[in-house]
């Protein structure tokens, strides 16, 4: 690198310069000649761009000290180019025998390019420090977040076999963070023996085939405490599909598992209680039915016996709803079809003799109903079926009773039809004074909010129509 050289007279004025000096300083030899150190057109600056005091100008320093100087870095403002050229300056005086300055030689090299590189490195270093600080802050925040949520994160580099654990991983698994992440065998040993195979095979599949996993397992800590962990792993793959590493989390879900267990137990207890309630209600109804049967045995009055038997049949129809609810999965809904099948069997058993010639046909669609619908519906079918047998057919006469249940999603329709003797013309069933018919009308219209009609065109058919109320959850 060629140096610029300037020779100063004892009064600091320039007496000679080379071409490189002229080039660096941006002045011709003529312009340089005679220029002195205190020339107001010189503008030297320090590395931080602040003005260099005149006393620190290289030539002035040598002039004052009469000694050489080395490697002074400074900037020189060039007005014609409106820029700063950075130079490294060396200089030495030529002294007479008496010690007086004869002349001062100053050499300088342009280090502008070098300085720019250094500045770039400096800026990059500052940026890096800032980024490192930011990363460190983020790491602290992440660690705090992991501690609060009991989620530890980890990564495994397949090529280097290097395992990295977050602080929370050490806390969850009970390992000392100062000793670093445990090896695979140590890790597996900490897992509950029943869960070790699942863990090992899942990790193996993730590492070999890139299969992610998400499962729960238990760990047994040295203090004999047990934790439940949710383990999630996402293999890191190249575009080619090759597995290069694994990354994942361990979440301590022990507390939520305990809470979940408590809620489950409480629900099971409530379900058990509700089932027991249905069971006892049904049993109590059976006892009432037995009471009526016994009472019936103490009288010879046929009307009284019949009334007691009718009451018994109605109560058993209601008991059957509780039996169905007891057996229902959700303890809330029963299928009206199943209920009617059992109800008809019950009624056949109590109303038809062995030698009966009646054919009972059922044509029923599955219809989900709750207790509020099933009970009145059962009582109505009970009355209609009983009436058909008692009034439609004389002893041993042949005939058919047909019970239908249809459900179009909006309306439920129940029909009880018989081809017995029929109902006398002009019979107004809605104004007939009997318990059975009055209760049918009240239950159909008042309780179910539906309608009951009688069709006597060919056979005798009662048609009940109603809607299952929406949002009628009871339990």
């Amino acid at each position: 690198m060629e140096a610029g050289i300037v020779i100063h007279a004892p009064d600091t004025s320039i007496i000679q310069s080379n071409d490189r000096a002229s080039e660096i300083l941006g002045l011709s030899h003529d312009q340089l000649k005679g220029k002195i150190a205190i020339d107001p057109n010189w503008k030297f600056v320090k590395l931080d761009n602040s003005p260099l005091p005149i006393t620190e100008y290289p030539v002035n320093r040598i002039s004052t000290s009469k000694a050489g100087m080395k490697n002074q870095l400074l900037g020189l403002f060039r007005p014609d180019k409106d820029d700063i050229v950075w130079v490294m300056v060396n200089g030495s005086p030529l002294l007479s025998n008496t010690g007086d300055i004869i002349e001062i030689a100053i050499s300088f090299v342009d280090i502008t390019g070098q300085k720019q590189i250094e500045e770039g490195i400096l800026t990059a270093q500052l940026g890096l420090e800032k980024s490192q600080k930011k990363l460190s802050d983020l790491n602290v925040t992440l660690n705090q977040a992991q501690e609060l949520t009991h989620v530890g994160s980890w990564s495994f580099n397949l090529a280097t076999q290097k395992i990295e654990w977050s602080d929370e991983m050490f806390r969850i698994w009970g390992f000392d963070s100062k000793k670093g992440a445990p090896d695979f065998d140590e890790l597996v040993n900490r897992i509950h023996p029943d869960d070790q195979d699942l863990f090992s095979s899942s990790v193996d599949k993730a590492a070999r085939l890139g299969t992610p996993y998400d499962f729960e397992h238990r760990i047994c800590l040295p203090n004999e405490a047990q934790k439940v962990i949710r383990a999630i792993c996402h293999p890191i793959l190249r575009d080619s599909g090759e597995v290069v590493g694994l990354g994942g989390i361990s979440q301590d879900i022990t507390d939520s598992k305990i809470a979940e267990g408590g809620i489950k137990k409480s629900l099971e207890e409530k379900e058990l209680l509700l089932r027991e309630l249905y069971h006892r209600t049904k049993n109590n109804m059976q006892v009432i039915s037995s009471m009526l049967s016994i009472q019936s045995q103490y009288t010879n009055n046929v009307d009284v016996k019949e009334t007691l038997e009718d009451m018994k049949s109605r109560i058993m129809g209601m008991a059957l709803v509780h039996e169905k609810l007891y057996q229902a999965k959700d303890l809330s809904w029963i299928d009206l079809k199943d209920y009617i099948i059992d109800l008809v069997e019950l009624l056949k058993g109590s109303l038809l003799s062995k030698s009966s010639n009646l054919e009972i046909i059922t044509n029923l669609e599955n219809t989900r109903t709750n207790i509020d619908t099933a009970i009145p519906c059962g009582i109505i079918i009970n009355e209609l079926f009983t009436n058909a047998i008692k009034h439609g057919f004389s002893d041993n006469s042949k005939g058919v009773i047909k019970i239908s249940l249809t459900n179009n999603g909006d309306e439920i329709c129940v029909s009880v039809l018989d081809n017995g003797v029929g109902i006398p013309t002009g019979f107004d069933f809605k104004n007939h004074d009997s318990y059975g018919l009055n209760s049918i009308i009240m239950l159909s219209e008042h309780q179910l909010g539906g309608s009951i009609t009688l069709n006597t065109e060919n056979d005798t058919e009662f048609i009940l129509k109603f809607k299952e109320p929406l949002n009628s959850e009871r339990v």
Binding site: H279, K282, N283, Q286, V287, S289, S290, M291, S293, I294, Q297, M316, A319, L320, E323, Y326, Q327, L346, G349, S350, K354
Partner: protein, 125 residues
């Protein structure tokens, strides 16, 4: 005249036991007893040697009817008809392994009970 067949009723609900007793008496059977617990059922069998037992499955403050039956089977072969409200799978599998037993669902339909008694006593007693 043929001797009346003897029936023991094991039922913890007094009114149901009373109802069954009256029903079966009126159907021509002799009731050797109506008891509410497994222990008293075993004692009654020892004392009265019934031809058949009607056995409720759930008995309050007692071993259940199936356990009572297993104990009785160590010495006796007479038929036993279980009375139970539900076709519970567990109950059915427990009953299935015991010989000479039948099951009738509650609520009892009188005709079904008397028909079954007649058939079992005629062919299996």
């Amino acid at each position: 005249m043929e001797d009346k067949k003897k029936i023991l009723i094991v039922e913890d609900e007094a009114i149901n036991a009373m109802y069954l007793g009256r029903l079966l008496k009126s159907s021509g059977y002799e009731i050797t007893g109506a008891v509410a617990t497994g222990e008293s059922a075993i004692a009654s069998v020892e004392e009265n040697c019934p031809d058949i037992v009607l056995m409720d499955i759930n008995l309050r403050n007692s071993i259940d009817g199936i356990e009572v039956t297993k104990i009785l089977r160590e010495k006796y072969k007479f038929p036993i008809i279980f009375l139970s409200g539900y076709d519970d799978q567990e109950i059915l599998s427990r009953i299935g392994s015991i010989l000479n037993t039948w099951k009738l669902n509650k609520p009892i339909v009188e005709k079904n009970l008397t028909d079954l008694l007649q058939e079992v006593l005629a062919n299996h007693a």
